[in-house]
Amino acid sequence: MATTEEELIESVEGDAERDRRGEDSSYAVFIPNTHEGAQLLKPRSQTTARELMREVGSVLRMSEAEAAKLGDLPDDPEEDQTMIINMGPQHPSTHGVLRLMLEMQGEEVLRCKPIIGYLHTGMEKTAESLTYMQGSTNVTRMDYLSPLNNELVFSMATEKLLGIDQDIPDRAVWIRMLMSEMNRMASHLLFMATNGMDLGAVSMMIYGWREREEVLRFFQEVTGLRMNHNYIRPGGVAADLPAGWRDGVLRLLDIIPPRLDEYDILMTGQPIWRERLQGVGVITPSEALALGATGPIVRSTGVPWDLRRDMPYLEYEQLEFDVIVGSYGDAFDRYAIRLAEIRESMKIVRQIVELMPEGDYRIQDKKVTPPPRARIDESMEALIHHFKIFTEGFKVPEGEVYVGLESPRGEIGCYIASDGSPNPYRMHMRDASFTNIQCLPHMMRGGLVADAVAVISSVDPVLGGVDR
């Protein structure tokens, strides 16, 4: 029921009056003694027409009058028939520390408000005190399931500012592509695991982690670490691929396809799985685009938008792959898209293995690349050069630049403003999960609380990236 501002103020004052008299007002528990203070979900009777419009009208492209009408439906529940509950931040299916305030009528979710910030560690502020050289150590920890994509976008933005983005050696570019596709596989395999677990296919969790571990083992061979690699750096990559990398990749390409076929048997064709996902968390193309959603979410609605194909970066235009789109925009489409994208990524990796050129793995520009280790022993200048690059870093010309690319979760973007010093003046990451999370209230509206779990899972947010 929509009310005017005056009525809202009146009713709040009324509540205060009741509080003084010691009476329990309906939602006093949520104010004001919590940290979150104003981040509360107001009772329906105290929701103004404007706020209601915000919840339904603006995104559904309705007029204010239509939205208000929707709020005044005769079966709109009275306040005492609904319940506001908190889901998270310590809930196993919220993928980290996401908190949702849900207004429930029985089992039905009427409204939902995501509350984030529990993992905020000020990484954008940290970036301002790190050099460009150290920057990729920082950004790799943001979206921790696709670390190599974070490093890649940061490095590409830095290179654009330096004006060397066209001079990166071919081999470095192809290694970058190989690693980011492998990363997409690892991330989507983990999605298979968590999505299965959230929906009760518990053994799926073990299988998903098992396959992801195979990919991480390859990462460990190449970068030395399973996660947070700091491998892709401005100027190229940290080290060349180790001897025998081809065997490692081909082994993976042999192991994973039969396992994906097992997933199909275990989940895709199962009636229970389909019942749980089909028609759940539906979002329309116009809603998804209005909310800035990217990646599998927007593709699930039938919009064929993939930056790898539509605004190619690296050497993606040389590769053949399909952009997978859904048609219903529901949780099943998002699941199926990710499963198919693993297969597409394998197709890409197979082409990369064949086409991988020989050559340098980093740019031979003395400004950004330290001298080889052997030179340090014989040349004083090389030692000084090495020391300067690692202590002071390299200066990046004044300017600002935005680079966006396709991470497993959607568009990841890096905006860097430089003032000519060796540290970024401002570094902002546009994380796909941060924007995608805004879709949750629309996907959940009118669904069951059990489906809320499926919906969160299908958006696949990584809270490290959301909160940064």
């Binding site: 940290h35 979150e36 203070g37 104003a38 981040q39 404007r50 706020e51 915000r54 603006s58 995104v59 984030i116 910030g117 905020h120 000020g122 954008e124 502020k125 005190s129 654009k160 500012l161 004006g163 685009l289 209005a290 909310l291 800035g292 959603a293 990217t294 919009v303 938008w305 539509d310 605004m311 004044e398 300017g399 600002e400 630049v401 935005y402 966006g404 568009e411 973007g413 905006y415 403003a417 003032d419 003046y425 401002r426 902002h428 546009r430 941060f434 924007t435 999370i437 805004q438 909160d467 940064r468």
Partner: protein, 159 residues
């Protein structure tokens, strides 16, 4: 003398091959609307920058640099192109119009910018802190926000 190129009455500059439009605060919403009609229907990102210690940054000649900037990345899916808006926001009146009614997807990024820089967005439906705790004082990404010696601000810390 060369005229600065203009789009919808706003000076345009080129930053490493990327198009940057510099609307004034008054033009901002109208320009965003006009661009949306031209196809820039996706507001990919919105963030703030505090240029306190770098006021001499390069800008088109008719733009007066202010302390804050709001930077919006727009994407045109149909024509596969990007553009960027940079709006100057003065320190003594850090208010700009909200893009919410045009691009609802800027809801969270605008809250983040408010949280981190204290820039207010007029017309935003729920301008509250998003990443920092509700009772936090100060705006951490401002350049005059000291790092290293911050008193612990959580309520339980004093209990």
């Amino acid at each position: 003398m060369d005229e600065t190129p203009q789009i919808h009455g706003c000076p345009v500059s080129d930053s490493h091959g990327q198009e940057v439009i510099h609307p004034s605060r008054e033009q901002y919403l109208d320009v965003a609307k006009a661009l949306a009609d031209e196809g820039y229907t996706l507001a990919v990102d919105l963030c703030g920058v505090d240029y306190l210690s770098h006021m001499g940054r390069p800008l088109p000649s008719d733009i007066v640099p202010e302390r804050f900037e709001v930077v919006v990345q727009l994407l045109d899916i149909g024509n596969r192109r990007r553009t960027r808006l940079r709006v100057q926001v003065p320190e003594n009146d850090p208010v700009v119009a909200s893009l919410f009614d045009l691009h609802p997807g800027t809801e969270a990024p605008e809250r983040e910018t408010y949280d981190m820089f204290g820039i207010e967005f007029e017309g935003h439906p729920d301008l509250t802190r998003i990443l920092m705790p509700e009772d936090w004082e100060g705006h951490p990404l401002r350049k005059d926000y000291e790092i290293g010696s911050i008193p612990v601000q959580f309520k339980e810390a004093n209990a």
